[in-house]
Amino acid sequence: MDTLILSIATLVGLYMAVNIGANDLANAMGTSVGSCAITLKEAVVISIIANALGATLAGGYVTGTISKGIIDPSLLAGDPNRLMIGMFASLLAAGLWVNLATYFALPVSTSQAIVGAVVGFGILSVGASAVTWSKIIIIVVSWITSPAVGGLLGGGLYYLIEKRMMSATDPLRASRRYAPFMIFVVFLVLILSFIFKGLKNLHLNVGFLQTFLLAIPVSMAAAVAGSWWVRRQARPECELRPGQEAFSPLDRLFAQLQVLTACYVAFAHGANDVANAVGPLAAIFSVVTTKAVALKVEVPIWMLLGGGIAVGGGLLAFGTRVMETIGKNITELTPMRGFCAQFGAATTILICSRLGLPISTTHVLVGSVVGIGIMRGMGTLDLRVLKNIGLSWLVTLPFTILLSMLLYELFVFFLL
């Protein structure tokens, strides 16, 4: 019986992981492929490796996140099976919602789907009063903060680069002049993000100032080495749009920088989002093997690695078409604009998580793209789609809450 439960739970966990890859990661990597900074194959390879690395190196030690701090698992200490069934229902409910959203082309937050699902089963199992509702309020706030800050930073970055660099009479000189500065800023933000966001689950406890002092010289060295390297690099023509004229020196610089941001996005995704699929699975494994409810469950490395690979697999199986379409359809997505979208999003995530503002990668990216669009950088933007995306963000919580309640009731009825 235990083996059966574990196999089914693993399958559902894999289902969720694949969905995360197809929805979340495909969008995050899409801008790099779309701008021809990297090829489709490179995107898949980077995603799988960086995502699995992020999950194993930085995604472990998931402490409260198994139940997302929404319910106190000790309330279910007398009945470990209920926790197990609840986690199972949550995983399935969130997976179904993300799958549905992927089908309808809506970029939703997988973390919020899991939160909603855990709330759903929490209401039924430990009662509505035991649910930490402040988490929900935080999510509601993030619907506004994520796209707004993402849009401001993405759009602002685009405006600055367009004004300062792209309009330069001699782009080659401009690229030589600005390359060290750009590389410095990108490295600085990525190193800080890496330590504070990517590795936050390791609880390194390094101070902001210490990190800063470490990051500045490293970024400076990278700027010197990077600008030398960028000058030597030549990029073959775009795979998705053959015949497109070769990148200008400036675009080549942004394409190179985008490779970095793409790696970072995939790593951060592995570190933070793979847990959405693996966390509940670890809880189920813990209940089955120990027959008790643990307050904190350490997620085994193999599970994180498996989750990371499954997310990459999801991207490979269902995400390539998403990335390919972004690449083919959005002809206005140049390396510079793609870089602004991705780097704007990465910077937003860093700043907001430092300030303690709740943020969702997906929401920030959407905000960033729209921000650049409003600055007239993204060609034809369909603002009507924004309405649907907003609606899907609003629906995520009620839908997953209700679905996980329904599934929980069904499982309890049939299994207990």
């Binding site: 929805n23 495909a26 969008n27 899409g30 801008t31 779309g34 992927t102 089908y103 309808f104 082309a105 809506l106 970029p107 792209m166 309009s167 330069a168 009479t169 782009p171 004229e245 200008s248 675009d251 078409r321 998403v322 379409t325 972004i326 359809n329 959005i330 002809t331 206005e332 140049t334 510079m336 990216l365 959407v366 793209v369 729209v370 669009g373 409003i374 007239r376 950088g377 993204m378 060609g379 034809t380 933007l381 369909d382 603002l383 009507r384 789609v385 924004l386 995306i389």
Partner: protein, 222 residues
């Protein structure tokens, strides 16, 4: 399956604009041929070419409608939608005038007297470059709005100036030819009417090409 973030992006109308501009360019080529056939009195070939132009015109009309019908409210473009639609209108009018000029010619199969035939050819010849440059302008605009550089913008501006210059030259030819028609064909009111109206239609072709170029200039304004 519809696709995620990419669904935020709407199909760029510049693709269709290029198709439309290419049809206009093709019509310009046929217009010149047809005018030569008319002068030589090869009426069968003239009619065949006029039919071809009429067919191209209706194809271009379909493209124009497609552009207009697929820019609903809520679509955010890099350029002012009003300017863009005005551009489409002017580019389409170029084609309408080409068609109109050929139809008008066809009403009098041997209507061009030898005295003005050379000037007539020159006038038609002068109407072609602005139309052809319009298609180049659209191609440049597509690249400019994708990955705009200052250099590209300067090139577009100089192309707009070229078109303006052509229009000016065509205006001068138009005026001279009218003077000549009134001076040489005093006793043939029917012929004068037919020729003067034709000259005016050809003048309109360059006017609309220039209007279109001016709209494009407004779209790349900083």
């Amino acid at each position: 399956m519809r696709l995620l973030l990419s669904s935020l992006f709407y199909k760029s109308p510049f693709e269709n604009l290029q198709k439309h501009a290419d049809k206009v360019r093709e019509c310009a080529r046929l217009f010149k041929q047809a005018a030569v056939f008319h002068l030589r009195g090869e009426s069968a070939k003239f009619e065949e070419t006029t039919d071809q132009v009429a067919r191209l015109e209706s194809e271009a009309d379909a493209i124009k409608r497609n552009i207009r019908n697929h820019l609903p409210k809520g679509i955010l473009m890099q350029v002012d939608k009003f300017q863009f639609l005005q551009y489409v209108r002017e580019q389409d009018k170029v084609l309408d005038e080409v068609e109109e000029a050929l139809f008008w010619l066809s009403f009098r199969p041997r209507g061009i007297p030898a005295e003005v035939s050379q000037d007539f050819e020159d006038l038609v010849e002068a109407a072609i470059p602005p139309i052809e440059k319009l298609s180049d302008l659209v191609a440049m605009a597509t690249v400019f709005f994708r990955a705009g550089s200052k250099e590209q913008r300067t090139r577009m501006k100089s192309l707009v100036n070229d078109i303006r210059q052509h229009e000016k030259e065509s205006d001068i030819l138009e005026r001279d030819l009218k003077l000549k028609i009134f001076a040489t064909l005093k006793d043939e009111p029917l012929m004068v009417f037919h020729l003067v109206r034709f000259v005016e239609i050809v003048g309109n072709i360059s006017d609309h090409a220039q209007n279109a170029a001016d709209r494009m200039r407004a779209m790349v304004a900083k």
